[in-house]
């Protein structure tokens, strides 16, 4: 009974994570410029990876594999914002002008 619930829960995590990754990919294709595309990529690198790794951890149970997956998750959550920041900063210093909506000029 409990094992069945864990399987259902981890499958739900994996499916939701897969949906978020597809959404992120659609966003990267759909959004108009580099900076807005970074936000769409942000979906895949935060909640989508977390859900997929969480689903795999539930499948693995209390084993050494779960610990390694947890380490991967921590590593991704610490390095991905640094990479995003480096990319946007490089784009900004390369004089790429962000697209700005006329309605909310600040």
């Amino acid at each position: 009974m409990l094992a069945g619930m864990v399987t259902v829960l981890s499958s739900a995590c994996l499916l939701l994570g897969a949906f978020l990754i597809i959404s992120g990919a659609v966003g990267v294709l759909r959004f108009p410029d580099f900076f807005t595309r970074m936000h769409a990529a942000g979906v895949t690198e935060t909640l989508a990876t977390t859900l997929i790794l969480l689903g795999l951890m539930l499948f693995a149970g209390w084993t050494i594999v779960s610990f390694k997956l947890l380490l991967i998750l921590l590593f991704i959550l610490i390095t991905s914002p640094v990479a995003s920041h480096a990319l946007t900063k490089a784009a900004l210093h390369g004089n790429l002008q962000p697209l700005v909506n006329e309605n909310n000029e600040q």
Binding site: P32, T36, A40, G42, T46, K68, S84, T88, K89, V100
Partner: protein, 156 residues
């Protein structure tokens, strides 16, 4: 000294968690590697409050719980806007003040901004951070300053 001990503890957990073999030979090799790595990093003078931020570890777990909630909410918002299309977004950017005193606090704040989808920190200069956001509401929320205040509280 306490920074060296904390580094040794982290390395020990990493070894035990990643090896999965607990024979005396491999455990003694692990102990040797930990001691050697701590000695080398101590000689390189990289074991300090920046590489081992012990003073943060008390309050930071509450901050992470709050941040996870924020990340989930902003993910839902961004995914909604992806499927609604380009008409639903209004990209903009603004320069926001940072109340953090230390470099560590500024890094945590800028990384937290980037971790929540919908906002990306672009540049840090003279105690301000340049933020690009997917919608004007995202900027308005950051201007409310809750995240800024929470990160500044971590430094105390």
């Amino acid at each position: 000294m306490k920074h060296c001990l904390s580094l040794a503890f982290v390395l020990m957990v990493l070894w035990l968690g990643n090896s999965g073999y607990y024979s005396p030979l491999l455990l003694s090799l692990g102990a040797f590697s930990v001691v050697f790595a701590v000695w080398v990093s101590h000689r390189m003078d990289v074991v300090d409050h920046e590489s081992q931020p012990l003073h943060l570890s008390g309050h930071i777990s509450f901050f992470y719980c709050w941040l996870v909630g924020k990340i989930i909410l902003s993910n839902i918002d961004v995914v909604k806007r992806i499927w609604l299309g380009n008409k639903s977004i209004s990209p903009c950017f603004a320069r926001l003040p940072m109340d953090q005193k230390t470099d560590m606090g500024k890094v945590i704040y800028a990384n937290s901004i980037t971790l929540t989808p919908g906002t990306v920190s672009m540049d840090i200069e003279n105690g301000t951070v340049l933020v690009h956001a997917l919608t004007a509401e995202n900027i308005a929320e950051l201007k409310g300053g809750e995240m800024n205040r929470r990160v500044a509280d971590l430094e105390l």
